[in-house]
Symmetry: D2
Subunit: 104 residues, 4 copies
């Protein structure tokens, strides 16, 4: 039985290796690529009200962010849901419930 995250990572590795791109994928440049895609995501919203951004473009740019985020996690051999759960636990400590009026 497979799970969707492992399937995606397998495909990402294959995609990279077929193109011989592992040589470029050091973690510093992967993080840089991720932040460039994050800026392209932000560009979809630029000069606009949140609801006026084109969802098809949001979807595509968000996908690029996620693809680099997954590849960076994979570079370090990290389990993605685990690192997310770990950070959520930390965030819960930093922002205890009942301070609803604080900014997020």
């Amino acid at each position: 039985m497979s799970n969707p995250i492992d399937d995606l990572l397998r495909q990402l590795r294959q995609f990279r290796d077929e193109r011989d791109w592992a040589q470029f994928h050091n973690p510093k440049d992967l993080a840089l690529a991720l932040s460039i895609e994050a800026a392209e995501l932000n560009e979809v919203f630029l000069w606009k009200k949140p609801e006026d951004a084109d969802p098809a473009r949001v979807r595509e740019e968000l996908a690029d962010v996620l693809l680099y985020a997954f590849q960076l996690a994979d570079k370090y051999n990290w389990d993605i849901p685990e690192l997310m759960r770990e950070k959520m636990a930390r965030n819960a400590e930093k922002h205890p419930v009942r301070r609803a009026a604080d900014l997020p």
Copy 2:
């Protein structure tokens, strides 16, 4: 039976609602928050060789990026593995195999 992505989304929604933060989570500011976390991720690598960045800090900042990326996808009710697979298919068209010497 549950899957890890749905579990994470459920916890993220609960975390947000317990703090009454849905009011802040419009897609434009979620995308902005994501790009700010992406910059914090990049800061771990600033002035350093890729291998000299502290993995514990990379892990934490990458988690923040992923948490906002998941929340943004959830805002639009998108299936995360599906939007990633869709973009990978598009990228495969844009970058056909056998052009290994091109930059990624």
Copy 3:
């Protein structure tokens, strides 16, 4: 007698007003536009050694960053050299000389 910064600001205001763009230029979106240009600047260096980036492209993207930075300062009616000198003084306090081995 004119100075180059005032001349640039005058031209930027005229450029904006001829196109009726003042309506878009709230400080939040100007800051967002600036960070998007900063990402385009970073893209020139992506997957490369610093010395392999194309200077002509660096120059152009850096100019876009500066143009938005000047417009944001102008939005608040700030004197640009003054705000820079002010921050340099603060940085000098934060990073006293003689700690040369620290990271910047």
Copy 4:
């Protein structure tokens, strides 16, 4: 006779050299530092209406962006007003007047 931009550049060089930081200031990391400061600038506006951001913090983060932008230009020995004027001329070609209803 001095001009304010040359004075700032002189001070920035002195600040850097007193701390022995020239070794870190390759153009790739300077561009990265600039984009990290741009994200800190954006953070002042996060989850807020444009008019609710604290001007004192905007001023400080914008100064950091400008300080890195000036240092990057100086790294390439570029004249700052000149590269800005050059880009404004290009932008005027790309966005001819009389298309006021277009997005900037």
